[in-house]
């Protein structure tokens, strides 16, 4: 009985169906454990967490230089910036918007640096549904390879104050 003191000889090794289930469950746990390192080497989507310490001011300065050097247009006052294929790109998160609009090419790989000027923000690329965390003080490097064309929306999915739901950015892929 679960509520009463067990008999003196309560220690018994599992037998029968119980033993079978423990074995099956253990094998399943092993499969799941192996999947992550397997995907790390064979899969294409891995969050390595590559990041560098940076002050918000210094990050913003780099972003400004990046925008000035690569600007190709403007939409609603936000610059559209096209980094060199295979190159670096900068994305600033702050209450309540994303800066600038990145324009990427399908099939090319970019190192996108994301950091926050103020609070925690969430980088959620829709309708793809890819999500990363953005923190102040950390230059989070996302190595992205767009494989589909179109206009994508960046939604902030980490609470950052009253205007949080209006923190919307754009990402273009040609």
């Amino acid at each position: 009985m679960s509520l009463s003191i067990p008999d003196r000889d309560w220690y018994k090794a599992p037998v029968g169906a119980e033993k079978l289930w423990i074995g099956l469950a253990l094998i399943w746990c092993l499969v799941m454990s192996v999947m992550m390192p397997y995907w790390h080497f064979r899969g294409k989507q891995n969050s390595r967490g590559e990041a560098y310490a940076v002050t918000p001011a210094a990050f913003y300065e780099r972003a400004e230089q990046f925008v000035a050097a690569n600007k190709v247009g403007e939409r609603d006052g936000v610059p559209i910036v096209e980094p060199a294929p295979g190159g670096e790109a900068y994305l600033v998160a702050r209450m309540w918007g994303w800066y600038p609009i990145l324009k990427l090419r399908q099939g090319e790989t970019y190192r996108v640096h994301v950091s926050s000027m103020d609070l925690n923000h969430g980088f959620s690329l829709q309708p793809l549904n890819m999500n990363f965390q953005v923190l102040p003080g950390y230059d989070h490097v996302l190595t992205l390879t767009p494989t589909s064309k179109g206009e994508f929306t960046i939604v902030c999915n980490e609470f950052c104050g009253i205007g949080h739901d209006r923190m919307i950015g754009k990402l273009l892929v040609e």
Binding site: S4, G16, E50, N129, D165
Partner: protein, 571 residues
Amino acid sequence: MTTLAAAVPTALDAPGARSRRCDTTGLSVCLTAQLFIKLAAVSAVVFLLLGGVAAILLALTRWQAVHLLRVDWFYRILTFHGLNMLIFWILFFEVAILYFACTVPLNSRLFSRKVAWVSFAMMLTGAVMVNVVVLAGKADVLMTSYLPLLAHPGFYLGIILVAVGTLVAVFNFFATLHIAKRDRAYEGTVPLVTFGALAAAIIAVVTLLHGAIVMIPTFTFSMGWTAEPDPMWYRMIWWGLGHQSQQVNVCAMVAVWYLVGQLATGAKPVNETVCRGAFLLYILFINLASAHHLLVDPAVGATWKIWNTSYAMYLAVLASMIHGFTVPASVEMAMRDKGYVKGLFGWVTALPWRNPAFSAVVLSILIFGFIGGITGVTLGTQQINIIAHNTLRITGHFHATVVGGTTLAFMGLAYYVIPLIFRRDFVWRTAARVQPWLFGGGILMVSLGMSFAGSLGVPRRSYDIEPAGVFGPAAHLFLGVMGLGALVAVAALLLFCILCVGTLLFGRPNSGRAMADWGVAQRVPGVKAGLFEHDHWAMKGTIALTAVFLACFAVYYFANWKALADVWPAQ
């Protein structure tokens, strides 16, 4: 410690012990423990009610067709809801379970009345303080309060008080175990329920220490005394508190499963060693939980993420899967022993379904296992987190575990706690029989609505999805399902509160006689007990059920890898 202990006898059956004999079970109940079980349980239900009112406001806001609250009040109520539901309701109820588990089954008195008062006063003051600060609009920071988002110092101080107060209660629990053993209030090994509570208490200590490590510097920072703690450091330590605390709930919930299983069907653990071993796995390998929230964070590397996601291997998951087998297996064995031997599931119809505690526990096991467990392990996989992080899928998962699992199990337990500890029979017993089904059904809708909306990318903790302009009719539909489910679940929650309060006020006292029985499984006339005692394959229904479970798990898990493979390559 010795002077305190020497004043009164430890064993409850000793002459002069402050105890009473339970009219129903014949067990001795320590009067001090009983007082604090009452205080903790009543406070817990009050916080549950507060959280429930908040829940309905939130659901009606996120249900875009209604969109009830103003934006500032939405985040305020969201903060309030999370803290009251996930922390206050559950912690207070767990303290009640701890006090019960270390006294009644061990025939021991509670170690110290004074310590219990200190603990209760700290917890209550802290919780009230937090709620006042939040409702005053000075802490719209959500439950996680990620730095550099800053709240009023009273918010952090309140949480510290609750955490330390709980630690004091846990100390009282350990001290009671110690004196009970020392003074031989019982002989042999502690019962399984106490063992489960012990596992919960050990994890609680580790968890609450994380809370102290992260909240104290945040408090001093909010007072302007120290520099700002690093936001990444804050996240990491906070989740040592945040997710680990949920494993305390899991332990307590599993202990309740075993307890109610026994009360309603006479089930006994199929194998004590296996059940206890599973609890031991929780203690040793629960670390896996804390990393779940940092899987797409900067500055924590892939190796760290992989290791901490599985803690080298999913041994805590193994523990849950073991309980998921042993609990139904023990119930099935008890039923077969009573003579319900027909086919795979012949025993199921004969289960005491009219017993709300039992139906609550069955629903708790099913919702926790099939929805909460499977989604949780999958979402917490390092790479899969990319397609789920901070979406409503996360919320969908923990509403299945904490609400459909823990809260429902605790509600079920209350159908025994109130008649046995408050010694009053339930009023309106028909409504009580319906309540777990309503609540379970409602929360299932909430959980599924959230999960599907999250799969479409709908963010959690967001006031409005319209400005994003990317969420179509399907997302709105699922948010509507969530809203409707919340209406049902909160109605059932209110019903639960009405039943509890009504019973305390108007229930017929049952002191001097056994409590009115909720219904237990009856033996088929003429069937001898013990026929299946040594048949280790007799739990055929459970074998079939767990096979279905494993298949669902595998399908869901690999479907998520497939979904992940379809998004852009990212590192």
